[in-house]
């Protein structure tokens, strides 16, 4: 099942706008993690415009789906998509990492509406998501819980502690998305401390594991559909490219850290607009 042409155009347009916001935030703040943010743009765009049942004007709506950004260093991407979706005022983005600003480099749930949990230290989100998903089930609620993790994050022991618990609790309302951009702080996970075979590990723990192209909306759509239908907790292993969308940043480790200078920004925006 694929998206209709106009929906596809809409989604691509939104993702482009989110990328533009991220690049501007990265440039203004002189902060890191632009590569880590660009790799999750399409996933977040899909979630916030197609998948999540939310009310932008009422972030505490009791029937909402919960989205937890466990890779807290992808904060710029979440802020950008929240602004794009109208959950937060776009003006707030200007205060990202500024003195007496609005938005910190890692997530603080007391900063702006729409941040379900604080995050930054890795390996926390899944446990919290399991608690939320179970809490909702105990109250017979239909809300769903989504949590986005980095691939390097999956080296955390706590991830696998939570992965062990979720199937026991029959959390069919829980979906994990792993941003498999194949670059962590110091290199490729497979060359550092490998978690492969990856999908097999999740399956062995009792999960529905689905692989997807994390930059293709049709692929994401079918993955989320499968996850939604599964009676097991699901993981979508989304193959992505760090720095996606900006040719000179793509699959380059240095863009985990590099600052986006004015020159970088204009080159990147030119490329985005031309795309």
């Amino acid at each position: 099942m694929s998206l209709k042409t106009e929906q596809m155009v809409f989604a691509i347009h939104k993702a482009m706008s989110v990328r533009e916001k991220i690049l501007k935030m990265a440039n203004r703040s002189k902060g890191a993690h632009v590569g880590s943010c660009l790799s999750v743009v399409d996933i977040l765009t899909y979630l916030y415009f197609k998948e999540l049942r939310i009310r932008p004007e009422d972030t505490l709506w009791e029937d909402r789906d919960y989205f937890l950004m466990s890779k807290g260093h992808g904060a710029m991407a979440l802020y950008a998509v929240l602004a794009e979706r109208g959950v937060i005022d776009e003006k707030l983005l200007k205060g990202y990492m500024q003195e007496d600003g609005t938005l910190p480099a890692h997530l603080d749930r007391f900063s702006v509406p729409g941040i379900e949990v604080s995050a930054g230290a890795l390996g926390h989100g899944l446990s919290i998501a399991v608690g939320i998903a179970h809490g909702l089930k105990l109250r017979s609620k239909k809300n769903r819980v989504f949590v986005l993790m980095g691939d390097g994050e999956c080296q955390e022991g706590s991830v696998w502690e939570a992965a062990m618990l979720a199937p026991k609790l029959k959390l069919s309302n829980l979906t994990v998305i792993v941003d498999l951009n194949d670059l962590q702080g110091y290199g490729r996970p497979s060359e550092l401390v490998s978690f492969y075979p990856f999908a097999e590990k999740w399956k062995a723990f009792g999960w529905e594991a689905v692989e997807a192209d994390g930059h293709n909306f049709d692929s994401l759509r079918s993955a989320f559909t499968r996850a939604d239908r599964s009676s097991l907790p699901s993981v979508i292993i989304a193959k992505t490219v760090k720095g996606k969308g900006i040719s000179f940043m793509e699959d380059e480790l240095k863009w985990h850290y590099f600052i986006v200078t004015d020159e970088h920004l204009s080159a990147a925006l030119m490329e985005l607009k031309g795309a």
Binding site: V117, G135, L138
Partner: protein, 315 residues
């Protein structure tokens, strides 16, 4: 204390659907009745402490009043970052109920002692700390926890503690004079309080009457009440089953220095050292001079040597 904890919580939860107990594979036999009565309000999350705390934070987000039960090192130490980031930073209503305070489990070994827990917890914003001296204070602490809407650490020993307090309808947030006295005051918290009480009884036979004060709520500390109670004493003995630094001695020292109030504190604590001795709790307390005899000895020495300490100055 353990029985009082579960009994109190079970009774309250009969009319409260929000109470949820999480245990990290500790407390064999403690929860059997609760599980029978409330099977969907109890979980054992296994030997996985980081997840135990994160999961509890998630449950709290959905409106549950979560009580996490474990032996203190496994409640706080392994999963300190989860306690800090998931519960305290996010200000969630999770009560951490820890057992095995001090060297309760001796000679289990250092891995099972909880002698730095106050130091760890006092530094976390939003986290309150209650360490009851007996089953009556334990009951009050649990009742307080049910009503309190934020992160809380309740520090328990184990079982068999004597009943010391008689006032069941107490305010657990304030210090309480258990025994009136003069010249020297003893302040303590937790199960080791019974050693101080025993010391006071020994000393009474000798005509010495130090004041004895229970301080169940260590954070936030009721500053005014503490000053009111110990104002006028020449010296204050602080008895705690905790290492030398970061516990109540440090907390009170901070407070008095900040207020510019002079006071003579005599710390009776475990040393600034890892404990390798093979002793049971009573023997361990004796060895480190924090048993009843050690307290009595200290009081006698302060009483006879008037050069020790001076009157607390008026504020």
């Amino acid at each position: 204390m353990r029985k009082t904890f579960i009994k109190t919580l079970s009774e309250i939860s009969r009319d409260n659907e929000d109470i949820y107990i999480v245990c990290g594979d500790a407390g064999f036999g403690v929860f059997e009745d609760f599980k029978k009565e409330k099977p969907d309000r109890f979980i054992n999350t296994g030997v996985a402490e980081a997840n135990m705390i994160g999961y509890s934070a998630g449950l709290a987000i959905t409106g549950f009043n979560v009580f996490v039960y474990n032996i203190i090192p496994f409640l706080l130490y392994r999963c300190y970052e989860q306690v800090r980031n998931d519960i305290c930073y996010q200000r969630l209503p999770v009560t951490l109920v820890g057992i095995g305070s001090g060297v309760t489990y001796a000679p289990a070994g250092m891995t099972h002692y909880s002698v730095e827990d106050i130091a760890l917890c006092r530094s976390l914003p939003n986290l309150s700390i209650i360490s009851p001296i007996d089953p009556i204070e334990t009951k009050a602490a649990i009742e307080y926890a049910v009503e309190y809407n934020g992160p809380l650490f309740i520090r328990l020993a184990k079982s068999g503690e004597l009943v010391i307090r008689k006032d069941e309808s107490m305010d657990i947030t304030v210090p309480h004079v258990i025994s009136e006295g003069e010249d020297v005051a003893i302040i303590s918290y937790g199960s080791i309080f019974s050693e101080a009480l025993h010391a006071v009884n020994i000393l009474k036979n000798e005509g010495i009457e130090p004041a004895l004060i229970s301080l169940p709520m260590i954070k936030p500390i009721n500053e005014e009440a503490i000053f009111d109670i110990i104002n006028g004493f020449r010296a204050v003995i602080i008895l705690e089953e905790h290492l030398r630094y970061g516990g109540l001695v440090s907390i009170l020292a901070d407070l008095f220095i900040e207020r510019g109030i002079g006071a003579r504190f005599i710390p009776l604590t475990l040393p600034d050292a890892f404990i390798h001795d093979v002793n049971r709790q009573a023997g361990m307390r004796r060895k480190y001079g924090i048993d009843a005899e050690g307290v009595a000895r200290t009081v006698r020495s302060v009483i006879t040597d008037k050069s020790q300490g001076y009157l607390l100055q008026n504020r």
